[in-house]
Symmetry: C2
Subunit: 599 residues, 2 copies
């Protein structure tokens, strides 16, 4: 028995091990339920047990507005000042969030929430469809590396890290929850303000009930300005969160690229489109990142070496994916990974032997050039036929300079008009050759380069990864850090932000955000069932702010409004990497939002 | 050490295990030389040691004509009556064989043989190119099953069977051999008589030397009749020895379907064409015989299930193989295996997952029908474009009647004009649907069926396999049994003969003819380096006789020569299965040949 227990609770490094009856998380924790839940599911037990004496004062269920900047712990009495009225400011077209908190010393068997009508003083309504309510759920996470300097590296033994249950997923799927005694239940309230609504203050209530019985209500006032935020598809913001369709197929247990697979992805990718995503992540070869995620990226291009020695390529999967994403609304750019994968090994179907084979070859070698010139020539022709050539980039991650230069030569040889993108360090030598250039947060584009790139309409962005302790979007990160990202991008006059993983889910992402490498949540921002998260909503808050800044800057420039311009730049100057971890991101972000909403 | 020894000498059931420096045979015997020799090689040690007292009388090297019906043992003094003159009869265009034997009590360091000029009494020459000389080599074999009733089944432990070194390969590659003391060395002399030569008796000598020193000479007289045997490509004989191109690629260590692969196969397949082979063996799916041979048959048709769910087929390999074989001279028929493989599992490349997948489905099921109708429709179109449709057959091995009937339905659904072939039992129910029908030697075609099939120009043949103890073509079989086959075929008025394995080589076919199943030599008739064998030459002797009989029967029928006709039928009636094993095949065959050469 001991051996089995130890097997179950130690972190499994191999993947996909499932019991017939019950799921098991990446870290070997049995989930006590069927694998891969999509609708109703139970959270993992909270390692933190409620302190009975703390809860004795809580006789009846308590209800208060909280802050969207806080992850309220599940079994701790929330430390907040009772707040019955919440006032929010927003532009028309903007999405705004609020977080209410319910906590109870004794059981609430059927907690549910609803909203009253929201009216302005002329009696005009904010339509009910604008609103959504979701219960915050709790997911297991770990922590930064022990040196506090980031979260990279392998985590072969999770017992070396703190395990804690954190508030992150926003569950819009369930309509009510049972609340056990001594439990806190946050509630996420979101309003997608229609662009057409009349400016003004709209007032209404959040009603909290146990079954039919009203437990209490909280007032919400939404002050909507005359300004209008465009729809996400029109945002200038260059959002690049890499999608992983393979994780969805595995989690939903549907055949790759089947209609069921597309159907499962649609709400998830629609959520991404609604956040302003502009780029389709495409894998044009087998394992561009050497299978670093639970579900590795398979090639969307079929590589075949024919028995006569010629190469043949088929784009059925690639087309299916791109057309699906465009249909969902993500249609501005296609980034194709990778000519320089993390392991320089290229798999193909070998017709002669009717088997999959791999060739190890590197930029600079004849075999590499022959193979990639054949591929890119064929690809270029296909993209041009599809009318996608101009929005497609051959995408690289950071590689040694010499390798990238040799890669660029091969691309030019195949088709000199190919656009190229890079996520890596800043390199003056190759910058002119890069269309979409994304550098690490710690680095800087020279001002003249950035300005020239802007005039050439080349996307110029930055990214964060496991390397940063702060700001980041781990499941335990301060939620405001996600919003902070885009203010920082605006300050640097960059077009947006990139993160490598929108949904590279671990085995049981709803239950356990930990993975075999990096800190919890590094590999994904959203959850199965197209559930959003505190992180993702705060990221969107920042993106909207960036878009507002872009519009205001243009307006102030056009109108010569120096006061307004200076106010924005001064506000942005408060976003400094050196703030972390001493000044909470929320302080800077909330102050900045106030200023933005003052115009 | 013991463990290693036991590993080395026990029969390895897994395949392909090689040491870097030295080959190892299928039965785990280290070969003491590099794996897969093509030119010079050393035979395995003879388990039979020479008896010194037997050899004491043999002071100088002895030389005599022997018989092509005998496999002379390597270390035994040959039991033969000294014969200095050999007289052979033949038609023009025929190939004739002779076997000389050299044996020596003491070492002959550099044994070599040559031929003098061969002249008739008018001084006309048989050209030197007509002749070839090869040394008989020795290969390891085993024996029939212990019950003597055949040689089928698994042979997991070869120590249960006799191991003996037998004379079989004919080595034309080496020009001389060193003869150790107390060794017998047979020499194979072959003449491909030109069709254009003048009839008459041609006389010459076989000269046997040690280096430059003449050891002796043997006289050979070739009596050539006025009759002419057509060239093999014009023979009516339907010879169907299944080719295994995969064994050649592995043995020669060349990439499948590369030019080097075709080059390695060319002399081997040319030898087959010269024996009158009419049929190209093609595999149209993965492992038609479930990998029963050392080198399994891979599909020559690329099966791809596209991500949109449709099937796609590519014929690059199939075309390459068929065109190669046609170029070699085997161009009358293409038999395509198999819609009913031994394991009803069908492998394909799955584009969506970029992997090889298998589907288990059987005739009668919708999935089977959908898949095969798609394949055969595509295949039919391809074959028609190539102009091969009329010579192509969809080929089956014996399956339960119901399965074969359902298979035929699917074929008809895809293209009712497809020809079908079967190697199996006789079934009246499906006989009309079968173009090329080959039954087991023990079975009979009803006379009316056989005659109708002949009038419809449908090939009707029989086969032998491991099931027969006699006649057969194991490496230890009486050589004349190989010739016997075709006389029997002629007696039954059949068009030819089928055997399932021309060259499904075991690991080291030149050294050890044993395999993990069946008796030694069951899986192949010829050797690497395009070396013929005693078995193959005797098989060809029978094929030539069958062709002669076909010609003579036609002539006697046309000319109303009842005496000749009866003489042939009487001769053929002596070929009875019941003769075995009491009457040696050589007795019947040699008598029959005398009669054939009397016309």
């Amino acid at each position: 028995m001991k051996r089995i227990t130890s097997f179950l609770f130690s972190c499994l490094l191999s993947s996909g091990i499932l019991f017939a009856q019950q799921g098991i998380t990446q870290c070997g924790v049995p989930t006590g339920q069927s694998p891969f839940p999509v609708t109703v599911y139970a959270e993992l037990p909270d390692p933190v047990k409620p302190l009975a004496q703390e809860w004795t004062a809580i006789k009846t269920p308590h209800i208060s507005w909280g802050s969207t900047d806080v992850r309220y712990a599940k079994h701790v009495v929330p430390k907040l000042k009772q707040q019955n009225v919440l006032r929010l400011k927003a532009w028309r077209g903007e999405r705004v969030n609020a977080q209410a908190v319910v906590w109870a010393g004794s059981e609430v068997s059927n907690l549910n929430c609803s909203l009253s009508e929201f009216k302005n003083n002329k009696g005009e309504l904010l339509p009910a469809e604008a609103w959504s309510i979701g219960f915050i759920r709790y997911v297991m996470t770990d922590e930064l590396n022990k040196d506090g300097k980031g979260a990279c590296g392998h985590r072969s033994d999770h017992s070396l890290y703190d395990s804690l249950l954190v508030a992150d997923p926003i569950d819009h799927v369930i309509e009510s929850v049972p609340l056990t005694a001594m439990t806190t239940q946050p509630v996420w309230v979101k309003c997608q303000i229609p662009q057409s609504v009349a400016p003004g203050i709209y007032k209404g209530d959040l009603l909290v009930r146990d079954g039919e019985r009203l437990l209490g209500k909280l007032k919400l006032e939404l002050q909507i300005s005359g300004r209008v935020l465009p729809v996400p598809s029109e945002w200038a913001y260059h959002l690049d969160l890499w999608q992983n369709p393979f994780a969805v197929a595995r989690y939903y247990q549907v055949p790759l690229w089947s209609q069921a697979h597309l159907d499962a992805m649609r709400p998830l990718m629609k959520m991404l489109a609604d956040a302003g995503q502009k780029i389709i992540t495409a894998s044009i070869m087998h394992k561009p990142w050497n299978g670093q995620t639970e579900d590795f990226f398979e090639t969307m291009v079929t590589w075949m070496k024919r028995a006569d020695g010629t190469w043949s390529f088929d784009y059925t999967v690639f087309d299916r994916w791109v057309e699906f994403m465009m249909n969902v609304g993500i249609d501005r750019q296609i980034n194709c990974y990778s000519m320089v994968p993390w392991e320089l090994s290229f798999q193909y179907f070998d017709q002669a032997t009717n088997s999959l084979k791999s060739v190890k070859t590197a930029p600079g070698e004849k075999e590499y050039e022959d193979m990639w010139v054949a591929m890119l020539s064929s690809f270029s022709q296909h993209l041009r036929e599809k009318g996608w050539f101009d929005i497609c980039t051959i995408a690289m991650d950071e590689r040694p300079m010499e390798v990238m230069q040799k890669t660029l030569e091969v691309i030019r040889k195949a088709d000199p008009e190919f656009k190229v993108s890079l996520a890596g360090n800043y390199h003056a030598e190759i910058e002119p050759a890069l269309y979409d250039y994304c550098i690490s947060i710690g680095q800087e584009f020279p001002a003249d380069v950035r300005m020239r790139r802007a005039s050439e309409k080349k996307p110029t962005t930055y990214y964060t990864s496991c390397a940063e302790a702060y700001p980041n979007t781990f499941t335990f990160s301060d939620p405001a850090e996600a919003a902070w990202m885009s203010f920082y991008s605006a300050q640097k006059q960059l077009n947006g932000y990139l993160r490598w993983a929108y949904n590279s889910w671990p085995l049981e992402p709803l239950l356990d955000s930990r993975f075999r490498t990096w800190a919890g949540g590094d590999t994904y921002l959203v959850y199965p069932g197209a559930r959003s998260s505190i992180r993702f909503e705060k990221l969107l808050e920042g993106i909207q702010a960036h878009e507002k800044i872009t519009l205001l800057r243009k307006e102030f420039l056009d109108k010569g409004n120096k006061t307004g311009w200076k106010k924005i730049e001064k506000m942005l100057s408060t976003f400094r990497l050196e703030n972390f971890p001493d000044i909470p991101a929320a302080v800077t972000v909330n102050h900045a939002n106030e200023i933005l909403n003052s115009f």
